[in-house]
C-alpha cells in the first residue's frame, strides 16, 4: 500500500506542477461554458440586417416594420411600378424584393395567390416563413373585416397566456422549475462526460508514455502491475478532483456574489420561510418584477445536497470505471495513434449517454431514461440528468450498486489486460488477443 501511495504522489505532483494544469484550471470553466453554450449562443446571434423591399399596392401590411434581422422597406405605390421597384431594390443591394399586387375587388385570396418574393439566389427559410406568417396574419384580418368584425374587437380579444405550472409532488406548491432542473441535469452530466474524457485520456497517455519510454520495464521489478495501474488512476483522479473543487468553489463564489448584488435580501427572507402570511401578497407582486428572484426561488425546490452527493459518487466511480478501461487500452498499444481502434468501444457508451440524456431531460421517468441510468457505462451521465427531477430512492441505490459491482469486475478485467499489455511490444493486438491475455494465469 505504501508503494501505491508513492505512485499516487508522483502522478499527482508531476501533473499539478505543470503549466498546462494551471492554465486549464483558469480557462476550463470558460472553455466548458463555451462548449456547452456556444452552439446555442451562435444560433441566437443577430445576423446581418436583411432589408426586404416591399411594393405593397394593396396597402395590406399596414407598414409593418419587420422583426429581428428582417427589416421591411416600403416603396410608395403611386411613384413606383413593379419594374422600377425591382430595379430600385437591386440598385440598393437589398436582400429581396416582395411584390403585393393590388387585389381585384379586394379579394384577400387573390393577394395570397399572387404575392411574389424575388431574390437572386436562395432565400433564407427564416425570412421566408416570417413573411408568410405576416401575410397570413394581415390577410386573416382583412377577411375578418370583410365578414363584418370590428378591428377594434380583434385587437381587444387578443390574449397572451403565461401558464402557471405547479409541481404538486412535494405536497406544497413550489414553482415549476423544469428549465432550471434541465440545466442542472445537463451541466452535471456534461461535466462528468468532459472529466471522463479529459482525464481518462490522460490515464491512457500516461500508460503509453511509460511503455514507450520503457520505464515500465524498470518499474515492474519493484511494483505489481495492479499497484501501478491503480496508483496512476487514483493520482490522476485526484488531479481531476482538485481541479473540479477549484471550479465548484469559483461557481459557489459567483453564485453568492450574484445573490448579494442583484437580489434584495429583504425580499428573499420571507420567501424562504414557507407561508409568511401577510407579506405574501406584497412579496408576490415584487417577485414578478425580479426575474433573478424567480430563478432563485425555483432553486429552493431542488434537493441540492442529494444531487451533489450523487454527483460526487457518479463522478468518482464513472471516472474509475472508464479510467481502468483507458489504462487497458493504453497498455495494449505502443503509440497513441494505434489506440483509435480500441478507443471506439470505450468511448461509444459515453457518446451514447450524451445522446440519451437529451431524451432523459425531456422525459426523466421514461423507459429509455430508466434503463440507461441502470446500465453501468451510461448510468453516471444519464442518472445525473434525471436526478434534479427527483428519482425514486430504490432506483438510485440500484443504479449505484450496479455501478459499484461493474467497477470491481471491469477493473479486474482491465488489470488482467494491463498486466500483459505493458510488457508486450510490436504488433498491435486484436480484440481476440486481448481476451486471451485476460485469461492468462499470471
Amino acid at each position: 500500500m505504501k508503494k501505491i501511495g508513492l505512485i499516487i504522489q508522483r502522478e499527482f505532483s508531476t501533473r499539478v506542477r505543470k503549466k498546462s494544469f494551471i492554465i486549464l484550471t483558469v480557462l476550463g470553466p470558460i472553455l466548458l461554458a463555451a462548449i456547452m453554450f456556444l452552439p446555442a449562443y451562435l444560433a441566437s446571434l443577430p445576423t446581418d440586417e436583411r432589408i426586404i423591399t416591399v411594393l405593397d399596392e394593396s396597402i395590406l401590411l399596414d407598414f409593418e416594420k419587420g422583426k429581428d434581422e428582417v427589416r421591411l422597406r416600403y416603396l410608395p405605390p403611386d411613384k413606383f411600378d413593379f419594374e422600377s421597384a425591382q430595379a430600385f431594390s437591386e440598385a440598393q443591394g437589398d436582400y429581396a424584393f416582395m411584390h403585393i399586387p393590388l387585389s381585384e375587388g379586394g379579394d384577400p385570396d387573390f393577394v395570397a395567390r399572387n404575392t411574389r418574393l424575388m431574390r437572386a439566389g436562395d432565400i433564407s427559410i427564416s425570412v421566408e416563413s416570417y413573411l408568410e406568417n405576416t401575410l397570413e396574419k394581415y390577410l386573416q384580418k382583412e377577411k375578418l373585416k370583410a365578414a363584418g368584425v370590428d378591428p377594434e374587437i380583434i385587437a381587444r380579444t387578443k390574449t397572451k397566456v403565461n401558464l402557471r405550472v405547479i409541481n404538486t409532488d412535494e405536497g406544497l406548491e413550489t414553482e415549476n422549475a423544469a428549465i432550471i432542473k434541465m440545466a442542472i441535469g445537463y451541466v452535471a452530466a456534461f461535466a462528468i462526460y468532459i472529466f471522463i474524457f479529459l482525464y481518462g485520456a490522460q490515464v491512457m497517455r500516461g500508460v503509453i508514455e511509460e511503455k514507450t519510454s520503457r520505464v515500465i520495464e524498470i518499474m515492474v521489478s519493484s511494483v505489481r502491475p495492479f499497484e501501478m495501474m491503480s496508483g496512476k488512476i487514483i493520482g490522476i483522479g485526484l488531479v481531476a478532483l482538485l481541479q473540479f473543487t477549484i471550479w465548484i468553489s469559483l461557481g459557489i463564489l459567483f453564485y453568492i456574489i450574484t445573490v448579494q448584488l442583484f437580489i434584495d435580501p429583504q425580499l428573499t427572507a420571507p420567501s424562504l420561510s414557507a407561508g409568511a402570511g401577510a407579506n405574501n401578497a406584497v412579496v408576490d407582486g415584487l417577485m414578478a418584477d425580479n426575474a433573478l428572484l424567480g430563478i432563485y426561488s425555483s432553486l429552493q425546490s431542488i434537493d441540492f445536497f442529494g444531487i451533489i452527493a450523487s454527483f460526487i459518487f457518479y463522478f468518482i466511480f464513472g471516472y474509475l470505471l472508464y479510467a481502468a478501461l483507458f489504462a487497458a487500452v493504453g497498455s495494449a498499444v505502443d503509440k497513441e495513434s494505434d489506440s483509435q481502434q480500441f478507443m471506439l468501444p470505450v468511448s461509444a457508451p459515453l457518446i451514447l449517454s450524451l445522446i440519451v440524456i437529451i431524451r432523459a431531460l425531456d422525459n426523466p421517468d421514461g423507459d429509455i431514461a430508466f434503463w440507461f441510468s441502470m446500465v453501468p457505462l451510461t448510468s453516471p451521465l444519464v442518472m445525473m440528468a434525471r436526478l434534479p427531477f427527483g428519482v425514486a430512492p430504490w432506483e438510485l441505490i440500484l443504479s449505484m450498486v450496479i455501478l459499484l459491482i461493474s467497477f470491481v469486475l471491469l477493473t479486474w478485467f482491465a488489470a488482467k489486460i494491463y498486466r500483459i499489455g505493458i510488457l508486450m511490444y510490436g504488433k498491435k493486438p486484436t480484440f481476440t488477443e486481448l481476451l486471451r491475455w485476460a485469461r492468462y494465469k499470471n
Binding site: L6, V215, I218, S222, K441, N442
Partner: protein, 297 residues
C-alpha cells in the same frame, strides 16, 4: 543463493521455459546465456516476480521466493528507460523509495553515486536532456540504490561506449567483491569470458549446459594443439598423432595437431630434444561452444 527447481512457463502454445533447474552461487557472477528467444527474459521475469511460473519453484537464500525478496533484488532490464520529464535526482529517489529505501538514506546514496559517476551537474536536469550514455548510467544507479543482494543485468553493455563499458565492468567487479551475486544475461560471449565465474546456456527453454567456466571449457576440450618448430628439426612424429594442418612460415613450421590424452607424454618426450618455439593446447572458445551446443539442439 538462487535455485530454480523444475521451472516451467508457457504462453499459450509457446513453451518459454522447459522444467528448468539452475543454481546460482552466492557472490559469483553467473552468465545466463542463450540466443534471442531462448527463455532468458522469461526466467528473469519469474525471478523478479513479474510473472509466475506455471509449475516449479524458485528459492532465494533457501527460502521460497516471495514478495519480501523484491527489495533484495536489483534488475537492469535490456529495454530500459526513465520518465523523460522527471528530474534525475527525483527519479532516482522515486525508484529507490519504491524499493523501500528510507528517504534520507536514499538521498545520501544518490548523491554518492552521482558523484562517483560524475553526474552531479545533472541532478536537477530532466532525464530527456541527458545523453544516452548518461541516461544508462542513471539507470544503472537506479538498480543499485537499494543495495540488492542479487543483481540481474540483462544485456547491460548494449548501447554503452567503450569507456562507459569499462566503468560499468569495474563496478560489477567491485560489487562482486562486496558480496553481491550477479546474474548476467547476454548473447554476447566476449564479455562473458571476461567476467563470469559460471554460466548456464539455455536454448528454446531447455538448459543445455551449466557449470563453472573452467569446467565447461574442460568438457569441451578438442584435443587440438598448436606447435611451432624449426622446419629442419621436425623429423617423424610419434605414432597416433594426427596433423590437421601444416604451414611453413619463414623457416618455421606451424602445425595443428590432434592427439589423444595418452599420446601427450610421448610427444612431449620427443619434442624435448628439439628446438621448440611453441606448444600450446587450443582453448575452446565460448563462442564455439555456444554455436556447437545450440546447433545440436
Amino acid at each position: 543463493m538462487l535455485r530454480a527447481e523444475g521451472l516451467h512457463k508457457s504462453y499459450g502454445d509457446h513453451i518459454a521455459l522447459h522444467h528448468l533447474d539452475l543454481a546460482v552461487e552466492r557472490g559469483s557472477i553467473f552468465g545466463l546465456l542463450g540466443p534471442n528467444g531462448a527463455g532468458k527474459t522469461s526466467f528473469i521475469r519469474i525471478i523478479n516476480q513479474i510473472t509466475a511460473p506455471d509449475s516449479g519453484q524458485l528459492f532465494f537464500n533457501e527460502e521460497k521466493l516471495s514478495a519480501s525478496h523484491i527489495k533484495k533484488i536489483g534488475y537492469l532490464p535490456e529495454e530500459r528507460g526513465l520518465y523523460p520529464k522527471m528530474k534525475v535526482g527525483e527519479q532516482l529517489l522515486y525508484l529507490a523509495r519504491l524499493k523501500e529505501v528510507e528517504k534520507s538514506q536514499a538521498k545520501e546514496r544518490i548523491l554518492q553515486w552521482l558523484k562517483d559517476f560524475q553526474l552531479m551537474d545533472w541532478k536537477d536536469k530532466n532525464v530527456e536532456e541527458l545523453s544516452k550514455g548518461m541516461a544508462q548510467k542513471v539507470q544503472f544507479i537506479a538498480t543499485l540504490l537499494h543495495q540488492p543482494e542479487l543483481l540481474i543485468l540483462d544485456e547491460p553493455f548494449t548501447g554503452f561506449d567503450p569507456r562507459n563499458t569499462e566503468i560499468i565492468k569495474k563496478e560489477i567487479q567491485r560489487l562482486r567483491e562486496n558480496g553481491t551475486t550477479i546474474i548476467f544475461s547476454t548473447h554476447r560471449m566476449e564479455s562473458v569470458e571476461e567476467i563470469c565465474d559460471s554460466i548456464a546456456l539455455i536454448n528454446k527453454g531447455h538448459k543445455i549446459l551449466e557449470g563453472s567456466l573452467i569446467d565447461i571449457k574442460q568438457q569441451f576440450r578438442s584435443g587440438h594443439y598448436d606447435l611451432v618448430i624449426e622446419e629442419s628439426e621436425l623429423g617423424t612424429l610419434p605414432q597416433g598423432i594426427k596433423v590437421l594442418n601444416q604451414e611453413s612460415i619463414q623457416g618455421k613450421l606451424h602445425l595443428k595437431l590432434k592427439l589423444e590424452p595418452e599420446d601427450k607424454k610421448g610427444l612431449l618426450q620427443y619434442l624435448s630434444t628439439k628446438n621448440l618455439h611453441l606448444f600450446r593446447e587450443e582453448e575452446p572458445k565460448l563462442h564455439d561452444i555456444f554455436i556447437q551446443s545450440t546447433a545440436e539442439e
